[in-house]
Symmetry: C2
Subunit: 126 residues, 2 copies
């Protein structure tokens, strides 16, 4: 199993990361996600990492890179569900996930995304 | 990684099954899900199996069993995202997933759940 499913919920895409990501899986996810953003016109991406007990610099870079790709495709990315121990380790390692927005859980992440979408619609004059 | 994360979205719980389930993982999921239904008062459970390329009789029974447990806890379960090839194989094997409601994708599953919740609220006189 080397493909992480991407679920569409309204204007948002939801990805739940459950497995320890290998390079290949991470690249596949980037490809799949950018294709899905283009195909669906989604402008929010929610990545749940509550199952991850370790987030190393590889995963950190991957999250930053997905967030950057989504941004140029006009979508906001929010990473949710980080375990407290993971947050502690990240900061101790000096990885601050710059450019990546976070929220405590899916519900708060969704709120953040819909607020971002309202701003976006106002800017676009919709 | 032997725990499948359960995400809460409003009155619904969302589970994305990505790995080939072992007995232990399946039992853990049943336990976690029933605890989460009780803790959150959720009355809808959405199980996404779009990543599964094979659904054998073990997974079939597990889905039926989760659906049964959720029902006695007053929650409706909908299985979404089944791949066409999986559906063909299931029927050929004589596994009809009795008692399990299905929908094409997460969005349709959510609609089904909110319809069930409206009926539920009317029945409860809410």
């Amino acid at each position: 199993m080397d493909r992480i499913p991407i679920l569409q919920m309204g204007r948002n895409l939801l990805v739940t990361i459950q497995v320890d990501m290998q390079d290949q899986t991470a690249l596949q996810l980037q490809d799949d996600l950018s294709a899905k953003i283009e195909a669906t016109g989604a402008n929010g991406v929610l990545i749940d990492i509550s199952a991850l007990e370790i987030v190393d610099s590889f995963i950190g870079r991957m999250l930053a890179s997905i967030s950057g790709i989504a941004r140029v495709l006009d979508a906001t990315t929010v990473v949710v569900g980080m375990q407290p121990a993971v947050a502690i380790t990240l900061v101790e390692l000096g990885l601050s996930l710059e450019g990546v927005r976070t929220a405590l859980n899916v519900e708060r992440g969704m709120k953040l995304l819909s607020a971002a979408q309202q701003d976006h619609d106002v800017d676009a004059g919709a």
